[in-house]
């Protein structure tokens, strides 16, 4: 019987790169304080008529200032996926709900050297699962203008991945990706900062999903992303509105728009409540075919019925509560709901016959600054 991998975090998912320090135009650098963060995240997914998938992810974050011009940052995460595979129209065995267990371990380390008006960071990531290994390196440089009202960021990264599916379909298959990013952050007023960045990625190698029947994808993928962010501060310290938009397109024919809104609102004694809303819409890949599985399949041509490559819209609604205790400790609790529907796609029709996906996440975090 074929083991159907939950498309979810099954594998891990994109391990985080480092976030553009470019964002810090106007802020003090380097960070004067060290920081330790602990976070426990729980993800549960539902599909009509299917059993649940669950992901548990404990993670640790450490930021250490070293000497006076260096910081070292590390992140350790362990995610375990359990539960039945969701009933996807494209998985033959999905309906039987075979249980799946997969564990991923990942480690990221970044070292940053700060100069008077610049910084240089080097980082590496390692991620291990039963069937997917990934090693990545990156370098990011930032340059501030003399008045520190503008920061330019340039980054490059490379990742070397190996796929060994447990069903033997993919044996030591490789995938390599190179990416580059350029961004500009700017202080607009004494309460507004904006950032624009473009990212280009080129990958080649094995992209098929070894756990799906008839899944055959191109041997390379070129991606572009344009990201725009705007943060606005209100008079009350800590009250901030964050808006972000990302435009994505790739050589597989997918175009996506994602909009993020978050409003951070402090109340009574430094408590903070942060409601946020996200909308995502994407078009389908050129080689995505509507169900039933096999429709449109031509031997030798790319073909996929993976719902993630279909056309749909998705909404995430979340609420976070931050509770400080003492001057150095902060805790937070976050609840979010995710729903994906074919009919929610913007600028066009969604793919037909998709089952809506819903997910709920709960997170609890603890941060200590020293």
């Amino acid at each position: 019987m074929q083991l159907t991998r939950p498309p979810l975090l099954a594998a891990a998912l994109a391990l985080p790169g480092i976030v553009l320090p470019a964002s810090e135009a106007g802020a003090e650098r380097p960070p004067g304080a060290g920081e330790v963060g602990l976070r426990y995240s729980h993800y549960q997914e539902y599909q009509p008529g299917a059993e649940r998938i669950e992901v548990v992810l404990p993670a640790l974050f450490v930021l250490v200032p070293v000497a006076e011009d260096w910081t070292i940052q590390g992140q350790l995460a362990l995610d375990s996926v359990s539960g039945a595979s969701p009933l996807y129209h494209d998985t033959l065995s999905g309906a039987s709900g075979i249980g799946v267990d997969d564990v991923r371990r990942s480690l990221d380390v970044d070292a940053t050297r700060y100069f008077d008006r610049a910084s240089l960071a080097f980082g590496a990531s390692v991620s291990r699962e039963d069937d997917y290994d990934s090693d990545a390196v990156r370098a990011v440089a930032t340059f501030d203008s003399a008045d520190r009202n503008r920061t330019i960021t340039v980054g490059v990264g490379y990742s070397d991945d190996t796929i060994d599916s447990v069903n033997g379909v993919a044996e030591h298959e490789a995938r390599n990706t190179t990416d580059a990013q350029v961004g500009v952050a700017r202080v607009l007023t004494s309460r507004d900062v904006a950032q624009a960045s473009v990212t280009f990625a080129h990958g080649s190698g094995y992209y098929d999903d070894p756990y799906k029947v008839l899944d055959r994808r191109p041997g390379s993928r070129d991606e572009r992303a344009l990201s725009l962010r705007w943060n606005h501060a209100y008079d009350t310290p800590g009250e901030v509105l964050r808006v972000a938009y990302r435009l994505f397109d790739d050589s597989w024919g997918i175009t996506a728009h994602s909009v993020d809104l978050a409003w951070r609102h402090p109340f009574a004694n430094d408590f903070v409540v942060e409601p946020s809303l996200r909308y995502h819409s994407q078009s389908a890949a050129d080689f995505y075919f509507d169900p039933p599985v096999g429709t449109g399949f031509v031997p030798g041509e790319p073909y996929s019925a993976d719902a993630r490559l279909s056309a749909f819209g998705a909404v995430t609604a979340a609420i976070k509560l931050e509770v400080p205790f003492g001057s150095r400790w902060r805790s937070d609790f976050k609840l979010s709901f995710y729903r994906q529907k074919s009919a929610w796609r913007a600028f066009g029709d969604g793919s037909p016959d998709l089952l809506p996906v819903s997910a709920r996440t709960f997170e609890i975090g603890l941060t200590y600054e020293y």
């Binding site: 498309p7 998912l13 480092i18 990156r138 008045d147 700017r186 344009l226």
Partner: protein
């Protein structure tokens, strides 16, 4: 359209509409942790991105050289 949008966005940020540059002593609100573009919490941000990339086809725009994933 993508290119036009990108050019426009970068032009806006580069040129800015800031006729009056913000002075160092006027950065009280900008210096707040909550004004960081990454939101100030790496673990929270990464989990959100992980949920998104596992369910959607788009990614990127926040950094480079992330480790790969088996999520295709």
């Amino acid at each position: 359209m993508t290119r036009a949008l990108a050019t426009l966005a970068i032009a806006i940020v580069l040129a800015g509409c800031a006729a009056q540059p913000v002075q160092p002593w006027e950065k009280r609100l900008l210096a707040q942790r909550a004004m960081r573009m990454d939101g100030g919490n790496a673990l929270e941000r990464d989990f959100a991105r992980q949920v998104e990339t596992s369910r959607e086809a788009a990614r990127g725009g926040e950094g480079v050289g992330g480790g790969g994933c088996g999520c295709n």
